[in-house]
C-alpha cells in the first residue's frame, strides 16, 4: 500500500498490544448502519501512470500563447532560486510555527517578509499574509468597520470587479452596506466620491493603478476621509510600487495587494497570497498571523508568533477573523524574490514594465481606428477602444498564439469594444511588434 509502511508482523504485533483480533475491530465503535453506502473510486496507479495520465490532461490545455493579459495577475519572471529555495523540504513540509524552537527558519523568514513588505509599502505593520488580494480587501473593509464602528463602505469604480464581488459577498451577509461608485471614464469620478463620503462612512476603497491601468492621485479623497474620521483602504499592485507613490506616502490606513506578481506562477489563479499592511495604531485589529522578534532564555535572538490573542484559537467567536492559515510558502517565495531583486533590481523591474508598456501603447495609438482610453498615465496596463467587439479580436488573435488582453465587455456589457492590455518585463519588442501586426490584420 503506498506510503503506509506496515508489514504483516507490524500489524499483528501492534494488534496484540492493543488487544484486538483484527484491523476491522478498530472500528467497532462505529455502528454498522453508519458505514459507507458506496466508495466507488478507481484502482490505485503507479507514479508513472499517474504522471502520464495527468500530462495528457495537461496537453488538452492550449495555453502556450504570448500573454498580454493582466487584470491583477501578471506574467512576471520567477528567478530559479525562488523555486530551488522554496522547494527545500525543510520549508515546504514544515508545519505552522506554533512550536517556536522547531520553526526558527519559517519564523525568521516571515519576520523578514513582514519587514520587506513594510518597507515596500512604507507602512508600519503587516501580517504574515492572507489568502489572496481579493479576500484581503474584504477583510480590510471588515477591519475598517470594526475600527470605526460604522456600517457603510464605499467602493470605487476602478477596483477589480472580481474583488468587488468578493467584497460584497463578505459584507452583505453581515448586513453591511456597500455603495458602488460609477464613472463615465476609466478613472475615478472624484466629485462623486467626495460627495458620498460622510460621517457614516467606515472607509472608501480604491485601487491604484486601477483595474483599467490608470494611475491617479487620491490626496483630496484621503484628506476628506480623514476629516470625517473615515479610513482610506487601497488595493495596490506590488510591482508598481517600484516606481509609484506608496500607500504609506499617500496616508492610506489599510493597504492590501495580491502577491502573485512577487515570484509566484499564475497557476490558474492559486495559490497566491494576500498582503495587508496598516498603521501602528490598528495593529490589534489586523487579522491573521504575526511574527515578532524577541529573545530566548539565553538572550539569543528568537522569533515567535505573537499577538495570538486576536486569533481564532484563543478568541474563538470574538476573533478578528476566522482565518487560521496564512499562505506561508507563497509569502516565502515573495521574500526570496524581493531579496534577490533588491533595492535597485526592484526599481529596475518596475521601470522595465512601464517603459515596455509605453512602447506598445505608442505603437497602438498610431493605428487609425484605435484609441487609448485612459485619461491619466498608466503603469503597465491600458484600455484601447476597438472598432469591433473585443471578444472577436481576442478570438482571432488567439489563433495567432497571442492572448491580446481582457475583454472589458465581460465586466460591463456596454463596454464590449474595449480591450485591457498588459505588458510585463517578459514581453520583447519583437512580440509587441507582432501584436501590432496581427491586430492590424484582424481589424
Amino acid at each position: 500500500m503506498p506510503y503506509t509502511p506496515h508489514t504483516k508482523e507490524d500489524i499483528s504485533s501492534m494488534l496484540e498490544i492493543i488487544g484486538l483480533e483484527d484491523e476491522d475491530a478498530l472500528f467497532d465503535s462505529i455502528p454498522k448502519e453508519l458505514r459507507v453506502k458506496s466508495f466507488a473510486l478507481p484502482e490505485g496507479l503507479s507514479e508513472f501512470e499517474v504522471f502520464e495520465a495527468l500530462k495528457d490532461t495537461g496537453k488538452k490545455n492550449k495555453t502556450d500563447k504570448t500573454l498580454f493579459i493582466g487584470g491583477g495577475y501578471y506574467d512576471h519572471v520567477v528567478p530559479s532560486a525562488v523555486d530551488a529555495l522554496s522547494m527545500r523540504s525543510e520549508f515546504y513540509t514544515a508545519y505552522t510555527p506554533y512550536q517556536a524552537e522547531a520553526s526558527q527558519g519559517t519564523l525568521q523568514a516571515l519576520y523578514e517578509y513582514q519587514s520587506l513588505i513594510c518597507r515596500l509599502f512604507e507602512m508600519d505593520v503587516t501580517n504574515a499574509s492572507m489568502y489572496d488580494g481579493g479576500t484581503a480587501l474584504a477583510e480590510a473593509a471588515l477591519m475598517a468597520i470594526r475600527i470605526r464602528k460604522r456600517d457603510k463602505v464605499i467602493v470605487d469604480s476602478g477596483v477589480n470587479p472580481v474583488y468587488k464581488t468578493i467584497l460584497k459577498t463578505y459584507l452583505k451577509i453581515r448586513g453591511f452596506e456597500v455603495e458602488e461608485i460609477n464613472s463615465e471614464s476609466f478613472e475615478t469620478d472624484k466629485n462623486e466620491v467626495l460627495s458620498k463620503i460622510d460621517e457614516q462612512t467606515a472607509c472608501f476603497i480604491f485601487q491604484n493603478p486601477n483595474f483599467f491601468g490608470s494611475v491617479q492621485d487620491f490626496s483630496d479623497i484621503i484628506e476628506k476621509l480623514h476629516s470625517v474620521k473615515a479610513l482610506a483602504v487601497g488595493s495596490f499592485y506590488p510591482v508598481s510600487l517600484g516606481l509609484l507613490k506608496t500607500p504609506g506616502a499617500m496616508g492610506v490606513d489599510i493597504a492590501t495587494a495580491d502577491g502573485q506578481s512577487l515570484g509566484n506562477y499564475l497557476g490558474f489563479g492559486g495559490p497566491s497570497f494576500g498582503i495587508m499592511v496598516t498603521k501602528k495604531e490598528f495593529i490589534r485589529q489586523i487579522p491573521g498571523r504575526i511574527v515578532g522578534k524577541t529573545v530566548d532564555k539565553e538572550n539569543k535572538e528568537a522569533f515567535v508568533l505573537t499577538l495570538q490573542a486576536r486569533e481564532q484559537h484563543i478568541r474563538r467567536q470574538k476573533a478578528t477573523s476566522n482565518i487560521c492559515s496564512n499562505q506561508n510558502l507563497m509569502a516565502l517565495r515573495a521574500t526570496i524574490f524581493l531579496s534577490l531583486l533588491g533595492k535597485d533590481g526592484f526599481k529596475e523591474l518596475s521601470t522595465l514594465n512601464h517603459l515596455k508598456t509605453n512602447y506598445l501603447k505608442d505603437e497602438l495609438s498610431k493605428i487609425d481606428n484605435i484609441t487609448i482610453k485612459n485619461l491619466t498615465p498608466t503603469f503597465n496596463e491600458f484600455v484601447i477602444k476597438l472598432p469591433k467587439k473585443a471578444s472577436k479580436v481576442i478570438e482571432q488573435m488567439s489563433k495567432s498564439d497571442i492572448y491580446a488582453g481582457i475583454d472589458v465587455g465581460k465586466t460591463d456589457k456596454n463596454l464590449d469594444k474595449f480591450l485591457l492590455v498588459a505588458v510585463t518585463e517578459k514581453r520583447t519588442k519583437k512580440q509587441m511588434d507582432r501584436f501590432v501586426k496581427v491586430l492590424k490584420e484582424v481589424l
Binding site: 503506509t4 466508495f39 508545519y95 525568521q108 492621485d217 529573545v295
Partner: protein, 479 residues
C-alpha cells in the same frame, strides 16, 4: 543575521530581461515614489546561503515525526510536486475564465471536474466547490451556504451550535457570518452532551457544526440521532472534515446526515503544509444546497467543460477563481495513486497507530477518556503538573531535543494539560516505538528531576523564547 544585516550596497541577485525599447516615464513627481524601497542588496549566492541556512533551523515531515493531533501531518508524496511543476498547468492565466476561453483550458477544467466527482464519492455529497482556500475559509463558505438556505426559506435563525471541544475556527466562523454561538458541554465519554443539546436546540438554530470523530478522537455513536433532531428543527448539519483521516472509506458524512462538509486537503489528502499554508478547504453539499454554491463552477456539456452560469441564489464569490488550484491538483495526484484500496487503508493504519500509542502510554499519563480512540488520542499531564510541577508544555519541549516535534498541546480546551497525539498512517512502528519511549522517559525525568525541564530544549537554535516580551515590546518589522 537577517537579509538586511547581510546587505551590501551594489549587490544584486537577479539579471532582468533587457530594455529593448526607447520610451519615457509617464509620471509627474506627485505620482512617483520618492525614494527606492529599502530592500536589501544581495548576490544570488548570498540569498541562497541565507535561506538554506534558515531552512536547516526547521523541523519538517521529511526529517521529523510530527504527532500533532488534529493536523494529520502525513508524508507529502514527491510525485505531487512533479505533477505540479507541469507548465501546462502552472502557467495558465486565470483571466482566461473572464474572457470565456474555456476551449483553451479543457485540461485545467477537467482537473476540477474530476476532483469534484471524487470528493463527492468519498464523502457522500452531491456537489463540491473547490474555491475555499483553507479549512477556515471552507467553514465560512459552508456556513454562508446554510445562511443562504435559511434566508431563501424565510427562516429566522440566530444561532450556531458547537461542542466545547470544537476547533476555534468553528465559533469564529459562525461569528463572521453573523450568528451567535451556543456551546454545548461534552460529557464523560467526550461526546457532546445529548441532553444539553436537546435542551438548547430550537427553531432559532441555523446549524450544528461537528467534527467526526470529535477532537478527542472519539466517534459519537449518537451522531444519527443528533442529525435527526437538528433536521426536525430545520437546522442544518455541518461536518468539519479535519478528522476525516479516521473514517475515510469507513463512514461518509453525507450518508449519516450531514448537509455540508469541508475537507482539508493539506491534512487528509497529503498536500504540503508549507510552514503554515497554502492549504485548501473544498466544500461539499447535498443537492438542495446546490443553487447557493459560490462562483466559479465547472460543468460538462456535450463532452466539453465550460463555466456554469451561477444561479441568482448563489452566495457570490468567496475567492478570486478556483481557490488554491495547484493544491487541488496535488490532492488529485494523491487520490489517483492511492485509489480505492489505498484510501480505505489510510484510516485503518491511522487508527491502528493511534491506538497502539494510546495503549503504550496509558500507564504513564492521565487518560481523561479511557477508551479506544480513532486516529488520535488525548492524554493529560494534569497529574504530572500536580505532583511534580511538570506541564504539557514541558513534555513538548523535552521531545524536541530528540528530533520529535511535540504533539498538540492545550487543545481541546476541555482537557487540562492536554496532549493530543495523531501519528497518521505513514509512520512506521520503529519511529512510533521511539516516540513512545521518549514520552515514557519524560515521565521518569519528571519524577526524578523536574527542574531540568525549564532548560529544555537544549540542542536547538533557540530555547524558550520570551513570548511576553514579544507581545509587550512589539518588534514585528526590521524597519
Amino acid at each position: 543575521m537577517s537579509v538586511f544585516d547581510n546587505s551590501k550596497k551594489g549587490r544584486k541577485g537577479v539579471k532582468l530581461p533587457r530594455l529593448d525599447v526607447d520610451t519615457k516615464i509617464e509620471f509627474s513627481n506627485k505620482l512617483l515614489r520618492e525614494n527606492k524601497a529599502e530592500l536589501p542588496e544581495l548576490s544570488e549566492l548570498d540569498v541562497v546561503r541565507h535561506f538554506t541556512r534558515l531552512s536547516s533551523k526547521n523541523f519538517s515531515i521529511d526529517k521529523n515525526f510530527y504527532p500533532l493531533g488534529s493536523c494529520t501531518m502525513k508524508y507529502n508524496p514527491k510525485i505531487e510536486e512533479k505533477v505540479a511543476s507541469l507548465e501546462s498547468f502552472n502557467t495558465v492565466h486565470p483571466h482566461l475564465i473572464l474572457n470565456d476561453l474555456s476551449e483553451d483550458i479543457q485540461g485545467s477544467l477537467e482537473i476540477i471536474s474530476k476532483s469534484e466527482e471524487l470528493f463527492c464519492e468519498m464523502t457522500g455529497m452531491d456537489a463540491f466547490t473547490l474555491t475555499p482556500q483553507a479549512g477556515a475559509h471552507g467553514e465560512m463558505t459552508g456556513i454562508m451556504l446554510i445562511h443562504a438556505y435559511h434566508q431563501n426559506k424565510g427562516n429566522k435563525k440566530r444561532y450556531v451550535i458547537v461542542p466545547d471541544s470544537s476547533h476555534g475556527t468553528n465559533p469564529a466562523t459562525a461569528s463572521m457570518v453573523g450568528y451567535e454561538v451556543i456551546t454545548i458541554k461534552s460529557d464523560k465519554s467526550g461526546d457532546m452532551n445529548i441532553n444539553e443539546f436537546k435542551e438548547k436546540m430550537s427553531d432559532e438554530v441555523a446549524a450544528v457544526m461537528l467534527t467526526v470523530p470529535n477532537t478527542l478522537g472519539i466517534f459519537n455513536p449518537n451522531i444519527k440521532e443528533i442529525c435527526d433532531i437538528a433536521h426536525s428543527y430545520d437546522a442544518l448539519m455541518y461536518y468539519d472534515g479535519a478528522n476525516l483521516n479516521a473514517i475515510l472509506g469507513v463512514v461518509r458524512p453525507g450518508d449519516i446526515g450531514f448537509d455540508v462538509t469541508h475537507l482539508n486537503l493539506h491534512k487528509t489528502f497529503a498536500t504540503p503544509h508549507g510552514g503554515g499554508g497554502p492549504g485548501s478547504g473544498p466544500v461539499g453539499v447535498k443537492e438542495f444546497l446546490k443553487p447557493f454554491l459560490p462562483n466559479l463552477q465547472v460543468e460538462k456539456k456535450d463532452g466539453k467543460y465550460g463555466f456554469k452560469k451561477v444561479s441568482e441564489q448563489s452566495i457570490g464569490r468567496i475567492s478570486p477563481f478556483f481557490g488554491n488550484y495547484m493544491v487541488t491538483l496535488r490532492a488529485l495526484v494523491y487520490i489517483l495513486i492511492l485509489g480505492k484500496e489505498g484510501l480505505m487503508n489510510v484510516s485503518k493504519k491511522a487508527v491502528l497507530n493511534a491506538n497502539y500509542i494510546r495503549v503504550k502510554l496509558k500507564e504513564y499519563y492521565d487518560m481523561p477518556y479511557d477508551m479506544p480512540c480513532m486516529h488520535e488520542c488525548v492524554l493529560s499531564a494534569a497529574s504530572l503538573l500536580k505532583e511534580h510541577k511538570v506541564r504539557a508544555l514541558d513534555i513538548a519541549k523535552y521531545l524536541l531535543d530528540f528530533g520529535l516535534h511535540a504533539p498538540t498541546i492545550y487543545f481541546p480546551l476541555i482537557v487540562k494539560e492536554a496532549i493530543m497525539i495523531e501519528p497518521t498512517e505513514t509512520e512506521n512502528k520503529e519511529d512510533i516505538d521511539y516516540f513512545c519511549k521518549k514520552m515514557v522517559d519524560a515521565v521518569t525525568l519528571a519524577k526524578q528531576n523536574p527542574k531540568v525541564f525549564h532548560d529544555l530544549p537544549k540542542t536547538l537554535p533557540v530555547s524558550r523564547p520570551d513570548e511576553t516580551k514579544a507581545a509587550r515590546e512589539l518588534d514585528i518589522c526590521q524597519c
